[in-house]
Symmetry: D2
Subunit: 416 residues, 4 copies
Amino acid sequence: MNIFETLESEVRSYCRGWPTTFDKATGALLYDETGKEYLDFFAGAGSLNYGHNNPLLKRAVIDYMLGDGITHSLDMNTAAKRDLLESFEDIVLRPRGLDYKVMFPGPAGANAVEAALKLARKVTGRESIINFTNAFHGMTLGALSVTGNSMKRSGAGIPLVHATPMPYDNYFDGQTPDFLFFERLLADSGSGLNEPAAVIVETVQGEGGINAARAEWLRGLSDLCKRNGILLIVDDVQMGCGRTGPFFSFEIAGIEPDIVCLSKSIGGYGLPLALTLLKPELDVWEPGEHNGTFRGINPAFVAATEALKVYWQDDKLEKSTLAKGEQVDRELTALVESHPDVPMRAKGRGLARGLQFQDAALADQVCKNAFEAGLLMETSGPDGEVVKLMPPLTISDDELEAGLSIVAKSVKGVLA
Amino acid sequence: MNIFETLESEVRSYCRGWPTTFDKATGALLYDETGKEYLDFFAGAGSLNYGHNNPLLKRAVIDYMLGDGITHSLDMNTAAKRDLLESFEDIVLRPRGLDYKVMFPGPAGANAVEAALKLARKVTGRESIINFTNAFHGMTLGALSVTGNSMKRSGAGIPLVHATPMPYDNYFDGQTPDFLFFERLLADSGSGLNEPAAVIVETVQGEGGINAARAEWLRGLSDLCKRNGILLIVDDVQMGCGRTGPFFSFEIAGIEPDIVCLSKSIGGYGLPLALTLLKPELDVWEPGEHNGTFRGINPAFVAATEALKVYWQDDKLEKSTLAKGEQVDRELTALVESHPDVPMRAKGRGLARGLQFQDAALADQVCKNAFEAGLLMETSGPDGEVVKLMPPLTISDDELEAGLSIVAKSVKGVLA
Amino acid sequence: MNIFETLESEVRSYCRGWPTTFDKATGALLYDETGKEYLDFFAGAGSLNYGHNNPLLKRAVIDYMLGDGITHSLDMNTAAKRDLLESFEDIVLRPRGLDYKVMFPGPAGANAVEAALKLARKVTGRESIINFTNAFHGMTLGALSVTGNSMKRSGAGIPLVHATPMPYDNYFDGQTPDFLFFERLLADSGSGLNEPAAVIVETVQGEGGINAARAEWLRGLSDLCKRNGILLIVDDVQMGCGRTGPFFSFEIAGIEPDIVCLSKSIGGYGLPLALTLLKPELDVWEPGEHNGTFRGINPAFVAATEALKVYWQDDKLEKSTLAKGEQVDRELTALVESHPDVPMRAKGRGLARGLQFQDAALADQVCKNAFEAGLLMETSGPDGEVVKLMPPLTISDDELEAGLSIVAKSVKGVLA
Amino acid sequence: MNIFETLESEVRSYCRGWPTTFDKATGALLYDETGKEYLDFFAGAGSLNYGHNNPLLKRAVIDYMLGDGITHSLDMNTAAKRDLLESFEDIVLRPRGLDYKVMFPGPAGANAVEAALKLARKVTGRESIINFTNAFHGMTLGALSVTGNSMKRSGAGIPLVHATPMPYDNYFDGQTPDFLFFERLLADSGSGLNEPAAVIVETVQGEGGINAARAEWLRGLSDLCKRNGILLIVDDVQMGCGRTGPFFSFEIAGIEPDIVCLSKSIGGYGLPLALTLLKPELDVWEPGEHNGTFRGINPAFVAATEALKVYWQDDKLEKSTLAKGEQVDRELTALVESHPDVPMRAKGRGLARGLQFQDAALADQVCKNAFEAGLLMETSGPDGEVVKLMPPLTISDDELEAGLSIVAKSVKGVLA
């Protein structure tokens, strides 16, 4: 038994599916201690959109550190934070015509969600939140209460309340009109639904199985919220920062959520950073009413700023992501079509892609085969029935092709 | 208006008390953009026990990054994580005869607390937690529910339940026996107290006003928990890692909590890291039942490992902290004694020290004066009535003396 | 201002729609202090199925009282209680092949519901309850949490949690298959629905607007519960005791709920009595784990026993109720058909009937007109859009006809 | 096995301690089916202050029924209800200078409590309630959440929240000043105590073990509530209607609670009736926001009115109750003093008296002995360690003496 097995809690999980010890990583490649190379179709669960140890970002971070730039500053004003705020305004918000204030809620996506829920409740004076089937928003108690996975929910040890799940887009395979149930419950004063403070939604559900909501469904949701005085929170922690093509995943729908949660790749380099964006009129916080020790990690600010400057001053990354996404989709679709007798489905948007099996054991085996062949992929979906493909956005065409080739072989291996 | 005022949320707080823009920092010194130097009696709210940009830790981190050591790995096995686990076992646990498993619950102290609460509830099948008056455990919903501050609690927007506050040590200035109320409620099957899963306690309450519990009170609490089948959680996020002298703040009491929360200075360099330590028999987690994107930040592992190796292989830091703490206490006590007509009180343990005023406005003004004179200190306590002195443990004697001199002048300034 | 206006709380309600002072009552007739006679299509909200001051029941009660039969006995054994239990077994349970234990949960329907919810949670170890849109189960906190009406829910002053509303039969006018949403949420381990302890349902929703669930829907619900290990609670407080024809309203579906709530007319004479019936294998209560001061009102036991003996030893009342119900339905249907341009709908089952308007103001005016003409009816439904016809089951044909004639005139009055 | 054992739920309790079947009852006497006579020191748990089948009240009720006075009227205006309201104002409120509005919340004490809690929360906009150790307020979910008994609480099947227990008068045997903990938690904005909407208190805890709060403690509580903007609810369900001497048990303290709960003996004859009294300025209810089917039982109104007229137009009953209470106390005290080696304690006020043992098994055996000897008494207190003496207030001197004689023998029997 190694020290991971003897000393680390049983709660550890990724190390079980990928039983090796990693050491180094660059771009779309990881290396274990034996030097074995792995292609990365996982990207830190969406935290590494710009690849491992991206050299441009690394340079910026190391220069900052070498110059003794302040590392840890809570919410003091720092030069690095100013650079980030200015870049975020100039490169992200203003060109998109978005008017948000920026809150630093703590280091992780769950903090961005916790702050969003608090704020929605404080602003509206209501407690109830509408979430969606197969949502994933985090593991802290507030975020967990709006997360769908029953195993993770049971970890809370208390009844999770104040959230009511509504069917996500296409939950009934088109059998019912969008929002049929939700609209009716809201309109009916006898429905028993507690009046919601907010709706929280992912535009593409990553953990939930790479379920991509249609733009018209997102617009319908936004309209529904406006008509009913409900705040709309988009959790763009995994799908933001270009994962689906545009910087914000909701841009395709032309909507403006009241609150937006960002984390994972916003920090650029895999360093913890999270932002909660809020409409200026919602900024009713008292100073310090929400805080957190690690809400000012300046190396993450530096990497985040550099990532915005390098990748988001033009539309090259967005176009490349869309193109690569199309390529992944084509190959997954071809795989599906070449096995007409096996129920499979290609899913997703941009570079958040999935291959859904009916039998979760097959998906699991595909990932195992891929690992053996040197490719990291995880499953997602309620039963782990979806093979999830999320390479870094900066992956090269050759690497992408090599990875897809392993995917194809891995799938064929389980279907043989 | 600068961009912090126009773009950042009103929730920002430290920047209000320290109205400048910081840029660089080393050891116990920060520098703002104009080059003005500030002595640091704040230490990142306890995250910078080894000082800003500690050169030994910086070297290790930068070397790791330059070598393309993997940065972000969730809970995969990595070489850097193995080093940390081994060092933690060899340097921290084994010499102290402590038997814990280690959980990586996410990047921040609140994650360590959320995981601890979940686990205590899961293990016991009970929901209720006992916390203490003026406790601070974090801002996520689970952690906030066991936090005392009413302004912060009101931010939740929902009623915070499942926690019952008990009086902290000396809450009644010695009028009542320790645990009088708590013991009686537990013993009385008609008391109406829900049977607790766990007690969560800080050995010294930092945010609560530098209230230091006596060793015998901590022992009494530990005994009470054992007798009643209640798990004892020590939140050592702020007071651990040597802040009060020994590595764990509870060592002075000779107790062994069931669960221990670490964060802040465990990462060494101000990079987000948190650990939840749990007795092996409590390790009932399902794989992945608690998770988090930023629970594997390898530069933080590297800095943490280096900090353990540099500072905790012998007792030099511990002794130095105790000595410096005594020095601070002597000077605060002298200040108190030199103003017999002003109700003040010197408080604390190790290098977690406080000067309590009756009038919170005085404490606030002391910190303002100190800032003007180039010293960073914050207030704590329910009304901000305590000036909080928490320099880096690695502060030099001269710096400490210089800081204390500013403290003395700042106090005299408000009392003049 | 009279004393009702000066001394009684603003919460009073029925006295507002029927602004007179009642004095005497017999059968289907009430009399106010001026001697004005009112036909009763309200029947104590379902508590007076056998009419006001039913002479047979009155005789039994008065004889019992004159003989100094014990009046108030909590859950001591009494002769009157034995008679009730024996009659309930012989006349109600055994002939229907039903195997239940009987619990006396307190005097009112809400107590029967509170006990049912407690028991379901205790047995299953789960907290969550599924209720239905437009459900009404009572005003105490447990019962209110599964009640739909938003005005009544807001009276709680705390967030009502642990209940999730599902669409009642025909909630979407046949657009969706039965239980589409419910089944899918249960089957999907990522849905975010807390695993339910129980479903609570009314077979006909009285307060909700006289919505009658189809027998096949009830069977579907029963099957769904069995398949998923969820307890089925039928709240037969208003629709039991023959209101819809058979003694239990669920008999038409051939189902056997796990728990049944009875109150209102079970006491026969309008005296408070409630029963919770439970499958023997669910009887896990500790002695006294649920109690209540008024759970042993012997005059109510006596009236209840007499009512069973008089009305339920044969099927005359059931047949008569069904026949009268058909008559009401015919006349309501004729009313609807004679006004093809006004959206109206005849609803209900047995002698629980409703006339639904699109415009709630019309329904309200119909009841006002009827009151002026000497007929008591209330509205129900989320917005009060349904005129509710619930005469005593023992109403004479002439009285019923006279009442329906007033209904017709009252409707025509508002549509003129 | 009799039908109680085969058909009635295991939750039944009083029948276990008193294993016979009762049939008739008058005044302070009950008779079982064999004709055996029992003296009643139980009085329907406080519901039969005027004795079983009190002939004056019986006459009034039967006359009303024979005249076809309306029985069941919800909250319609009725002549019988007017009589009750007028009598209550004339006989109870006005002479005491009390200004309350009267709400009919449903048939039982728990309904009065549920309505009180709802109203306090609605008025204040806060959720949290302060209750006291060993409180008993009822079994419905709201009332149960402020009840102390752990066995009864566990019956809820969900975590009971929104209530925090404070120590009742003399909980620490005089070791601490009154309200030490409560005042401190309120004054300390960092205490973690949710700001309370209301305090709910019994002046003498019946179920809790006949704990009588001192008048000065009650005054202190009232002052504390006023100073802190907290509503004071006195639950006088068991101790009101003269049980301790005066009509309201809080009269001895000269306080005016914001809300008062009455039930049990308010109906006079053991018929279900409950009232919630509220200061006029608190009457913010919407019509129908709280309701209940059995909130208008006119025979109970008639008996209640008659009881007020017979017993409360002068101070004879009050004086007699106090005198009899003194007699009981003397005899209990003599018992205690005659066994100096057995830890016993005489407790209580008026005719709510208790004899507390250290060993609950002794108290239980005393009641068993008494039953054998023809006297009904129950135990109370968290472990059933208190023998509870609550005869009808109308018990004759001879009966009282006879009962006390049995008590003495029963005690001696267990101590022999």
